[in-house]
Amino acid sequence: MAPASKLMSLSEAIKRYVPDGAEVVMGTSLETMIPFAAGHEIIRQRKKNLTLIGPISDILFDRLIGAGCVRKTRAAWVGNVITGSSYNFRRAAEEGTLETEDHSNLTISMALNAGAMGVPFMPALTALGSDLYKTNQSLKKITCPFTGMMLTAVSAINPAVAIIHVQRSDEFGNAHMWGNLGVTREACLASRHIIITAEEIVSPGAIESDPNRVITPGFRVDAVVHASWGAHPSPVPGYYNRDHNAFIEYRNESKTSEAFEKWLRLWVDNVKSSDDYLRLLGKERIIKLELKNHLLSEPVDYGY
C-alpha cells in the first residue's frame, strides 16, 4: 500500500493534462484562489484552441485569450472584477476570433453539477425571458413533468481537466480548501482530470486530521503542484490578500494589443519559476499583501 506520489512541476502537469483543444475549467472559486500560476504556464507553453470554462473568470481568461490560447469560452462573465471590461476578450470577441457560450452563474453551476452527478442536464428557473438562449446552445426550455411549469434545462459540462488552486495538499492529491468554494466541488467531480496547485505541500496526516475540509476525493486527482503565491493577484484565505493594484494596473496593461504583448513578456514569458515571479513582484508588495490579522478555526475532534 505505497501509492505513487502525484507531485510534479507545474510545467509537467500542464504538459501532461492540458493538450491543445482541451476543455479546461478554472477560476471555480470566482474571485478567490484563481490559479494564475497555472494559467501563466499554459500561456508559456502556448497551448492552442482551448475552451475555457468558469463562472466569472476575473482577468485570468483575458490573459489566455490575449496570448492566443483560446478558441471558446463557456462562462457567465469575462472581465476585470474591479475595472469592468477586459480588453483581450473584447478584441477577440469583436473580431470574431473567439466563440462565446453565454452562461449565468446559476447555469454554469448547474452545467457542472450535471456533469458531476452524471446526468445529461439539470433544471433551473433562470434564463427564462433572457436572450441567453440565443447565444447558448446548452440551454433548452422544458416542461416539468409534475407541475407543468416551464423550466430551463442546462446541458451537462464535463471538462477534460479542472485546475484548482488550494491552500494545502498532500502529494497524493488529498487537498484542503477553505473560504468561499464557488463551483469548485462540482467542477472537480465533473472533470476527467484534476490538477491541484497548492500553496503548501503537507503530510497526509495533516489532511486526514480534517476530512470534511477535503475538496474532492484524492484518488481522482492526477497532478499535485507546489505553487506558492500561485493565485496572485487573487486572494487565498489563510495566505495572502487580493492585490488590487495588479487588477487596476492590468486595465492599462491590456488596453491595446501592444501593451499586452509587453506585459506578457515581462510577467509571463520571462518568468521561469515561482521565485522569478516573487522577485518581480518585490518584497514590499509581498509584505503588504500578507495577512496582518489572524483568526484560527476552533478545532474539532474526529476521534472514536
Partner: protein, 258 residues
C-alpha cells in the same frame, strides 16, 4: 448635477439611494461595485439586521472589519456566517429566499430589461461586454431587484439589443408568460434620477430627480419618451452620518470618489 461642492459626490448620492431601498431584516443578494457599498451602508445605518448573500458562496450579517473593494476580499470572509458553494446561495435565490438584489447595466429599456452582453450597431456587434455573471439569475429570481447605472441616451434605449437580465419584457404579463416565478425590477437608480415601474403597464416612470438635475435633462438623456410619475420628488441627499459611514467604507474613494 451633484458635485463635491454640494458636500457629496454623485456616486455617494447613488449609493445612498440604493441603500435606502433595503428594509431592515431583508435578505439581500449583493452584487459587485456600487451595490456592495449600498448594502454595507444600509447595514451600518437603518438595516442592521439585513443579511448579505454573495454569489461566491458567502453569507454574512456583520460589516467586514476593514474596507473592501470587492466581495472576494478576505475581510469579507472573516467571521462570515456561512462559507459555502455558489450553488447553495443560488438555491436560496431560486427558492425565493432573497428579498432584493442589485445589478448594474450598460443598456436598459423602457420595461427595465438589461443588457450587459452585446451592444450592436447597424446590425453588427459593436461592443462585447462581460456578460451576465449572476445578473440574469438575480433579475429572474429575486423577489425584486434594483438597477444602478449611468443615465445616458445611448444606454437608455427603447429596446435593448440583447436581454441579459429580464425586466418586464414587453410589459404586463410578460414575466408570467416567460415562466419567471416572481420578481421584476422595482427601481432604477441612475446618475440623474430614480425611476420606478407603473404597477399596471410595467413601464418605467421617473419618480425622483437628483439635486441639480432637471426633468428636461433626464428626458433628453433617455432614448424614449420617459413617462413621469404624478408625484415627482427631489432625491434626498445623503445625511452627514451616511456620508461619514460611506467614507469609512471607501476611504480612498475608489468607488465613490468624484
Amino acid at each position: 448635477m451633484a458635485t463635491d461642492t454640494a458636500g457629496y459626490t454623485l456616486s455617494e448620492l447613488m449609493v445612498t439611494a440604493a441603500a435606502r431601498e433595503i428594509a431592515d431584516g431583508e435578505v439581500v443578494f449583493v452584487g459587485m461595485r456600487l451595490p456592495l457599498l449600498g448594502f454595507l451602508l444600509a447595514k451600518r445605518t437603518h438595516a442592521p439586521d439585513a443579511v448579505g448573500i454573495y454569489e461566491l458562496g458567502i453569507v454574512r450579517d456583520s460589516p467586514a472589519p476593514e474596507p473592501i473593494l470587492t466581495m472576494g476580499d478576505l475581510p469579507n470572509l472573516f467571521r462570515a456566517k456561512w462559507l459555502s458553494d455558489t450553488s447553495d446561495v443560488m438555491g436560496l435565490l431560486q427558492n425565493g429566499t432573497v428579498d432584493v438584489s442589485f445589478i448594474g447595466g450598460a443598456q436598459v429599456d423602457r420595461f427595465g430589461n438589461l443588457n450587459t452582453s452585446y451592444i450592436m450597431s447597424s446590425g453588427k456587434l459593436a461592443t462585447r461586454l462581460p456578460g451576465s455573471g449572476g445578473a440574469c439569475d438575480l433579475a429572474g429570481l429575486s423577489q425584486r431587484h434594483i438597477i444602478i447605472m449611468a443615465h445616458e441616451k445611448h444606454r437608455f434605449v427603447p429596446t435593448v439589443d440583447y436581454i441579459t437580465s429580464p425586466g418586464y419584457g414587453n410589459g404586463a404579463g410578460w414575466r408570467e408568460k416567460s415562466g419567471l416565478p416572481r420578481g421584476g425590477p422595482s427601481a432604477v437608480i441612475t446618475s440623474r434620477g430614480i425611476m420606478k415601474f407603473d404597477p399596471v403597464s410595467k413601464e418605467m416612470l421617473l419618480v425622483s430627480i437628483h439635486p441639480g438635475v432637471t426633468a428636461r435633462n433626464i428626458l433628453d438623456n433617455t432614448g424614449w419618451p420617459l413617462k413621469i410619475a404624478d408625484t415627482l420628488i427631489k432625491t434626498p441627499v445623503p445625511t452627514e452620518y451616511e456620508l461619514k459611514v460611506l467614507r469609512e467604507l471607501d476611504p480612498e474613494g475608489y468607488w465613490t470618489g468624484s
